[in-house]
């Protein structure tokens, strides 16, 4: 049996965190301008 859940969950979390950070950066850039 091959269990891929662990790596998939971590990659999902990384992508989610990166997206949230991008939104924060966008917001900060808008606020500054």
């Amino acid at each position: 049996m091959i269990d891929e859940d662990g790596i998939k969950e971590e990659i999902h979390q990384i992508k989610k965190t990166l997206k949230e950070l991008e939104h924060k950066v966008d917001k900060l850039e808008k606020d500054v301008s």
């Binding site: 049996m1 091959i2 269990d3 790596i7 969950e9 971590e10 990659i11």
Partner: protein, 271 residues
């Protein structure tokens, strides 16, 4: 666990390398707790050979770890399935580096009665991060935490580090020779049998990047592609194995339906 003195010859516990014809030439296997440098040019089957050894360990009911710093688990497992490895016989758990997820998976590993091959796919994590990676000491810190946790919580017996060269690329070791010594000590002190995969130039003029790894390793397995009359054969020899009456001759290495096999007769003496 510290290294222990033995009282008689033959007392050392060994891990079979699981190559037909070769284990008999090294007293049945590699002494448990050894640091093994597996070196060769591209295409010499370094990863497959190491995988073969730890797959056999997992088949015998032990937990083992494969650290992949570059190749994704999908690519690696597809390669192994294509070679005929049966993943119904062992359990495989793919992890990254997140401690909370690893802890959750450890519980499942410990419930299983079968040997577990735990594959830490740091290559896929690096792809997911996509940021401009700057070399740092962080990857070694991540790796050492994963190894220590799995040794403590799941009693892994063997580890493959694929590869040392990737670790060097990812890391900014200020004093690499000193750092390498400490990395090898780290695995030794955890009483793990560790296979360090090293890329070697095709001409084979050295065994490893910093030319210190082969001196501090307990064993050195050399893989080569040799061309004769436009035919290419794979060859293997054990250049060094501490505490072992080893046959250092060069063997032809073949992979077939019965797995890896080392044979005499691969080298023509007059060439």
């Amino acid at each position: 666990m510290p290294e222990q003195l033995i009282s008689t010859k033959g007392e050392l516990e060994r891990i079979p390398i699981n190559i037909k014809g070769l284990d008999d030439e090294i007293e049945g296997g590699i002494p448990v707790g050894s640091n093994v440098l597996v070196t060769g040019a591209a295409g010499t089957m370094k990863s497959s050979l190491c995988f073969n050894t730890i797959y056999n360990e997992a088949q015998n009911g032990r937990n083992v770890l494969y650290l992949s710093l570059e190749q994704s688990y999908v690519s690696l497992l597809n390669q192994m399935i294509n070679m005929g490895y049966d993943f119904q016989k062992i359990d495989v758990t793919i992890i990254g580096s997140d401690p909370s997820i690893i802890k959750k998976k450890i519980k499942e590993v410990n419930k299983s009665k079968k040997g577990h091959l735990i594959l830490s796919d740091l290559g896929s994590l690096r792809s997911a991060i996509k940021s401009k990676e700057t070399a740092s000491d962080n990857w070694w810190n991540i790796i050492s935490k994963i190894v220590r946790t799995l040794k403590t919580e799941t009693q892994i017996s063997a580890v493959v580090m694929d590869s040392l060269n990737s670790l060097y690329v990812l890391s900014d070791f200020k004093q690499p020779r000193n750092k390498i010594f400490h990395i090898f000590r780290f695995f030794k002190e955890l009483d793990l049998t560790t296979f360090f995969i090293a890329e070697m130039p095709k001409d084979g003029h050295k065994y490893s990047e910093y030319e210190i790894e082969d001196f501090i390793a307990d064993a050195v397995v050399v893989l080569q592609l040799v061309e004769r009359n436009r035919k290419v054969t794979r060859e293997i020899n054990i250049a060094k194995m501490r505490s072992t009456d080893v046959n250092n001759d060069v063997f032809t290495l073949e992979y077939g339906k019965n797995g890896f096999q080392a044979m005499y007769g691969g080298k023509m003496p007059l060439l």
